[in-house]
Symmetry: C2
Subunit: 230 residues, 2 copies
């Protein structure tokens, strides 16, 4: 493979990962739309998305593996391919989260509508925004945008904690609404996981771009990443 063809293969890999990201983001949006309007036909779309996402995950993994095996790339290209493999796994789990949410919507379908003290669509918008921004950081190889995603995670965590408290209270005080409150709580938790995956992606982008490993450094959004010897 010539250098030019190798660079083209890396571009193809990136393109495919972006398609995968689009599918994952769409799956979340659909799942939340299903929740908002209680429409099971949208749940079916989410199930189909999940199958497509799973297939795409395998294809991207295989392409990344082939590039590693045939080209033995070094340094920055190697980091890039490894980041693709990791981001790929996170996107697949975003698809799983969408599926979990739509399963909850199916579960709620037989239950009477209830006014609950949680703004699921807002939480979903923020989580989906984090996924989109983490991918933007990846496309533009921009560690600053990636760091912004890390700071956004705190907001989603706080929303999830508040949802937990408020919905537990509903369960205690209006036990006839317990099933609905529980489903909403599970959906909030799935969205919090989506935000976690976006955080993972952002960390992988920083790893790729800067050669620093920022995972598990809580204060990273402010600090300069350290160069790691190795």
């Amino acid at each position: 493979m010539t250098r030019i063809r190798f660079q083209q293969s890396l571009e193809d890999l990136k393109e495919n990962l972006l398609v995968m990201a689009g599918l994952a983001e769409q799956a979340i949006q659909r799942a939340i739309e299903a929740y908002r309007v209680r429409d099971l036909s949208i749940c079916d779309l989410v199930s189909r998305s999940e199958i497509a996402i799973n297939r795409m995950e395998r294809d991207i993994d295989q392409a990344a593996l082939d590039l590693l095996a045939m080209e033995q790339p070094m340094a920055i290209d190697l980091r890039f391919i490894l980041s693709v493999i990791k981001i790929n796994a996170d996107l697949e789990r975003v698809g799983d989260a969408a599926k979990s949410i739509s399963d909850r919507v199916r579960n709620m379908e037989q239950m009477p509508l209830a006014e609950l003290p949680v703004d699921i669509p807002r939480m979903a918008t923020l989580s989906a925004d984090m996924v989109r921004k983490s991918l933007q950081a990846f496309i533009e190889a921009d560690a600053e945008i990636a760091r912004l995603v890390l700071t956004m995670d705190d907001a989603v965590d706080a929303m999830n904690r508040n949802a937990y408290k408020a919905l537990t209270k509903v369960m205690e005080e209006q036990s006839h609404l317990a099933p609905q409150a529980l489903n909403a709580l599970m959906i909030a938790r799935s969205l919090e996981r989506v935000a976690d995956h976006a955080t993972n992606i952002a960390e992988d982008v920083i790893f790729w771009v800067q050669g620093a490993d920022v995972r598990h450094h809580k204060s990273v959004a402010a600090a300069q990443p350290q160069q790691k010897a190795g």
Copy 2:
């Protein structure tokens, strides 16, 4: 690096991953022990385990990356190193699950003890057993053991579904127990995720050993994996 030194580095990588697996398994066991006896000092141990697991994840990732960068391994060695990177990420998330469980235990500490219709320790034993078996499959490069893990996952899923039903009923019928029931439900869900990570590890072992990608094939436990062209 000579071939012998390279093989030694692969062995070291495997050893470190096994230490990591031991930490992750211990973290789950400790978290469940904390649940069983309501002992917050054990929760502190889980928090410390999580920090150690996170540090180890970074070190293993870096060592795998160094081997890829310096040795440009091919075929089976490349697959092995990629499997280590993926298994490493799953083990780190098992550590996260242990931390989530111990957070729930802290949450329950102020609440009166409640008899709940869920056997958390049994579910934990099964999930931890799956993690252990998936690692055994990895050590022995044994796809048969890995397939056994895939079949075990159904049992844990069923237990989680039953826990969900039974605990929702508690919330509805004994609303004063809603907070305890909810915490137990969250713990059951974390254990189901541990089982999912064990399943991921088992799939990675099959990928490594057989060069087949069995992810997302529900019937894989029975079927022969297909050789993939690439």
